[in-house]
């Protein structure tokens, strides 16, 4: 399993490095049109070939990493900022607060990112913000449930009860004892949600609900590749590989971290 953690970490780090590098350097400007060399096959000059406008596909995939990383990170941040406090509140207060938060989570979970994105697009048009909100809304209930479940398990531990008996407030116990103890699990869940967010982002930009041209995004590159599937089939391959590598990396990182943080699982894995 340590191999998985290493591969996942390497793929994720590679994605981040690629995104950062593309801010300052790409082999070609990603929007530079070069009609003479349109639809050329992969070569030493153009590693992934060129698209119908002669743009360098490798440069576009590189810049597309920015979109994937930024949207996924901000969406999961939004979902975490809503979900974790809601889950903590549910576990700390219990009773009808718990019930309300959890039913709210159930309801929110019934709105897949694409439906929220459709509604927001009908109101205010497509774009990165629409994507971030839509994916964040879908992420929040998952984190709320994870937080609430893990926190509830800490609340019945002896040390949490002892702290209450010694006169600490519920809020104090939640912040000092519960939150630090569920942090590992939350990091794992956030990593998994990041991988789902990259997938969702690709889907949304594929159907045109995401980042608008000319900003390159993996999903839209695949959409444009559809038109040329008979003449330039490779155009439909590279952006998809980039998505798969990013998601695979985040998933393996999440699984690896879980094995590390959860002693129960570590024992069963051996």
């Amino acid at each position: 399993m340590r191999v998985g953690l290493a591969i996942g970490g390497a793929l994720t780090a590679g994605m981040l490095v690629l995104a950062a590098l593309s801010l300052v350097w790409t082999p070609y400007p990603p929007t530079a049109i070069d009609i003479i060399h349109r639809l050329s096959r992969p070569s030493a000059a153009h590693w992934f070939g060129t698209d119908p406008f002669g743009r360098d596909v490798f440069s576009m995939v590189m810049v597309g990493t920015q979109d994937a990383v930024a949207v996924a990170a901000l969406a999961v941040l939004l979902g975490t900022a809503i979900g974790v406090p809601a889950g903590m509140l549910a576990a700390t207060r219990g009773g009808w607060t718990d019930e309300t938060v959890m039913r709210g989570a159930d309801l929110t979970f019934a709105f897949p990112a694409v439906l929220t994105a459709v509604m927001l697009t009908a109101l205010r048009g497509a774009g990165a913000i629409t994507e971030i909100i839509a994916i964040g809304v879908f992420t929040a209930p998952v984190l709320a449930r994870t937080t609430r479940g893990a926190a509830a398990a800490i609340w019945v531990q002896d040390y949490a009860r002892a702290a209450r008996a010694l006169g600490r407030t519920r809020r104090g116990v939640a912040l000092v004892h519960v939150l630090p103890n569920i942090l590992g699990l939350l990091i794992v869940q956030v990593t998994i949600q990041l991988s789902l967010a990259v997938l969702a982002e690709a889907g949304l930009s594929f159907v045109g609900l995401g980042a608008q041209p000319p900003a390159p995004s993996w999903g839209r590159m695949l959409n444009e590749a559809q038109t040329y599937i008979y003449t330039a089939p490779l155009l439909a391959v590279f952006p998809g590989l980039a998505i798969a590598a990013a998601v695979l990396g985040l998933n393996m990182l999440g699984d690896g971290l879980r094995d590390r943080f959860d002693p129960r699982r570590r024992r069963s894995a051996q």
Binding site: R103, P112, L115, V118, M119, L123, G203, V207, A225, V247
Partner: protein
């Protein structure tokens, strides 16, 4: 059991009502004037007022909500402003593509995943398990619409075994229509099957070496019978729960995959409705999708309760 059933149904109705309220509030009350969007910034005030009246958005908000819900309950989904036909007609036409697609994909995912997950669990940590788990790790990472593109590339463009897209309709014979749905079904099912395989394996391992399995082994029953007769039925709970959750992803996936294969389903209708600012259709369709997700999850709860009566006692 009856109390459980009644309470679950009450929760279902409440969830559907709240969902309809959310959809309505998001689409109708948030800033943005659909009449202005349709006619553009140069529209005359009286033209705007007339369109607002035609769209029914000049009435008070709560009245519009009650009108919408009341009509829905009596089977009236309103009128599409773009097509000028009842929305229910549109939905019925398009449902004939989306529903078979989602159901077939779910079925295929289950048929692939359960045997694979069981096989992996039975051969835990051996070559078959490692191989199956490695494959599912990759499968989970593949966007279904990209799998669709690759299937088109290999099986429609190169080999020409399947149509690359389009849908002939069921009335020209079920064979051609079925063929048009095979590739999208596979594309939707593979990533979901990968997730489900992992869940099935986990559920089987959780059953592990329960007493009743040891007893069966001690009786000298064959291992195959022990697995399929004793272990698998007890592992079904988590598998069914996961399939219920996946149905939500499958519906979302259908919306996107219809785009890849040019299928005239509900997803395609949804995108046309956005492009044409056909708000009635958007509102009805979003509620329809969300409603299906909510109803399927309630059905999963009931199914689990029917399989395992202990769940009912635990919640009672």
């Amino acid at each position: 059991m009856r109390a459980f059933l009644l309470r679950r149904l009450a929760t279902l109705v409440a969830a559907l009502l709240v969902a309809s309220l959310v959809v309505f509030v998001v689409l109708q009350i948030l800033p943005g004037d659909p009449a202005l969007v349709i006619l553009g910034p140069d529209a005359q005030p009286d033209t705007l007022a007339a369109l607002r009246h035609q769209l029914g958005i000049d009435l008070p908000v709560w009245l519009r909500y009650l009108h919408w819900i009341g009509s829905l309950l009596s089977g009236d989904f309103g009128r599409s402003t773009a097509y000028d036909i009842p929305v229910s007609d549109l939905i019925l036409q398009r449902m004939a593509v989306t529903l078979p697609l989602a159901v077939m994909a779910m079925a295929l995912a289950g048929v692939l995943a359960v045997p694979l997950g069981v096989a992996a669990a039975v051969r835990k940590a051996r070559l078959a398990d490692v191989g199956i788990m490695g494959l599912t790790q990759i499968g989970v990472a593949l966007p279904d619409f990209w799998v669709g593109l690759l299937l088109i590339l290999v099986l429609a463009v190169h080999a020409a075994w399947f149509p690359a897209g389009g849908f002939p309709g069921w009335w020209h014979g079920a064979g051609a229509a079925f063929r048009a749905l095979i590739l999208p079904t596979v594309a939707l099912a593979l990533p979901q099957a990968a997730i489900l395989t992992r869940v099935a394996r986990g559920a089987m391992l959780d059953i592990g070496s329960r007493d009743y399995l040891r007893t069966a082994r001690a009786k000298g029953q064959r291992e195959r019978r022990i697995v399929w007769r004793h272990a698998v039925p007890n592992a079904l709970g988590p598998i069914i729960t996961m399939m219920g959750l996946q149905f939500s992803f499958l519906l979302a996936g259908t919306i996107i995959i219809e785009n890849v294969f040019a299928l005239p389903g509900l997803g395609a209708l949804l995108f046309q409705a956005i492009a044409q600012r056909d708000l009635v259709v958007v509102q009805d369709l979003v509620l329809l999708f969300v409603g299906i997700v909510i109803i399927v999850n309630a059905a999963v709860d009931l199914l689990n309760a029917a399989i395992d009566p202990r769940l009912v006692e635990a919640t009672a």
